[in-house]
Symmetry: C2
Subunit: 340 residues, 2 copies
Amino acid sequence: MEKKVSIKDIARHLGVSTALVSYVLNNKAGRVSVEMAEKIRQAATELNYRPNLIARSLQSGKTNTLGLIVADISNPFFSHIARIVEDEAKKSGYTVIFGSSDESVEKSQALMDALLNRQVDALIIAPAEFTEEQLRALQKKKIPFVLIDRYFKDIQANCVRIDNYRAAYSAVEHLINTGNKRIAMMAYDTGMRHIAERIEGYKAALKDNGITPQESWLVRASYHHLEEEATLGMQKLLSPKPVVDAFFFATNSLAIQGIRQIIRLNIKVPDELSVISFDEADAFDFFYAPITYVRQSLEDIGRNAVQLVLGSIARQETAPREVLVDAGLIIRESTKKQHL
Amino acid sequence: MEKKVSIKDIARHLGVSTALVSYVLNNKAGRVSVEMAEKIRQAATELNYRPNLIARSLQSGKTNTLGLIVADISNPFFSHIARIVEDEAKKSGYTVIFGSSDESVEKSQALMDALLNRQVDALIIAPAEFTEEQLRALQKKKIPFVLIDRYFKDIQANCVRIDNYRAAYSAVEHLINTGNKRIAMMAYDTGMRHIAERIEGYKAALKDNGITPQESWLVRASYHHLEEEATLGMQKLLSPKPVVDAFFFATNSLAIQGIRQIIRLNIKVPDELSVISFDEADAFDFFYAPITYVRQSLEDIGRNAVQLVLGSIARQETAPREVLVDAGLIIRESTKKQHL
DNA sequence: AAGATCTGCTTAAACGTTTAAACAAACAAA
DNA sequence: TTTGTTTGTTTAAACGTTTAAGCAGATCTT
């Protein structure tokens, strides 16, 4: 690593003070002569000066960096958001450091520590379960942050999300309207509110249509043993022949696993089983009966999250804002029963 | 943002010097009394001291941060690598800042500047086309970096990749062995070497088997107009009926677009058309004829990249190393012609 | 008893910026 | 002419660390 050019080098090179150089290079040159300014700028390019943002940050207390905490950056849902966040942040001169919590309290804590030690100006977080305390700690330290996708009942914080209850309700309603009665749902085995509300929406839609939700219809799978538990759960309801008319998946990762089973068991969609999922996936288009899904605008989520949190930074303290983004049902073959 | 606790605060609190506190907290305590050390450590936890890594970095000249530059973090290929890189880096106490170059020379340059200004210790780069100069600049500045996935003929640098020629060759060979003669290929419209070598491998395999590659069989699509150009290119060869027996896609993003067309045109795979792609995708499993693909281990790529670049940091200057990771053909339905 | 060594701690400089305050010279106002 | 203001620049401190060097006091050597 070659010796880097600092403001000091420019100053020495021109025989002036570092202060002057700094003023010019930051355009805070209220009272610098035009000639001097020109000379300094020229020397800067000549010597190929690059500001050391670390030094700047130490002095200013701002890093112009956002920390992004998601469950798993390799999950397309989150990586897509990451890209939006990146672009939106860049517009305001911010850089993004990311980390995957792996839905673990400990990793989440470690991540936050690492990001905060690096003095990120704010955090964008898709929080893992049982991390309320960590969020409260952020609030106590007055670190601006915004939650995305997930949220907690007893945490008042900036949050960008959809109305999960309503989205799930309409999805299930659609299943009912297309002639399904025995409707199963697969959800993560978690108490997280976004999932809980999807389940509530599912149950409410059933009840409101005179269907009594059966406990056995609700398949739970844990994040860390998704494949096994999803497989097992699906088999119970689908093998040898489906005992339900339809399946509603609470996330796309669950749907991917679930549909793998549907393929393996050679169940005909939608005739033997209607299918609906949350979120998008290329895979949904490639299935012979393209999957109907609840679309949430990741663009809206990412953009609003950045806006919100940059706002919080700018005007110091603000009452937490909650942004609800739209979610819509994209209806396709997987919910079109032939006999209708 | 509440006042943060610094080493100075601990020192004042105990009436000792900051040096002593620093020595203890860094376990460089060769000559500190046990009682004092204990007192300091206790005060540190009591006051909830968190080291300011920015300050540490300024002093040490190391940020323990890696910059990751990919074409698009929302592309599963890259986001998967990002996750591996993240995990592998964390093992050595490193954090990752990422950015998407969007296959643009300018964005790539801007990204590098941004990352270097933030004093990242090294870069992991999937370089965009025509960025050779940028890489040479890095070499001149002696910034450690490692290329992944892509590489240049005239740049001697650390690099982790597969043997693209050979991988493509075997893929096409497989198509030939399963009875295909007129074999088309879709590739990005780029001179990038990894793509060029895949094309060479494709042509060589044809020639070696007595098939003369037709120029019209090679469909080119640009990154920025992928959808239109891929659509158009596919239609020329497939509509109204396929004039080729098989299609070989140079990347999974190309395959996704291509297969969309195959679905739209209702072409039967593999009977009317065999299909093979590079890289994995959930979508490949969901197609009625699961897609045969060339698998490269993203784990190997990510892990080796981090190892290589951390090695470069540690032992200052090293001759560039090139790591070839394995690639294997995963054979499935999309290349199993019925009449064989 | 005098020097040498060890022990436990402090001093102070450095990393590369920013920025309030000071200052000298030039100019304007009275 | 004196006083005041403006202009262009410098000084110096600060941000939170690390770390070489220094320095007393205690302990060991001979």
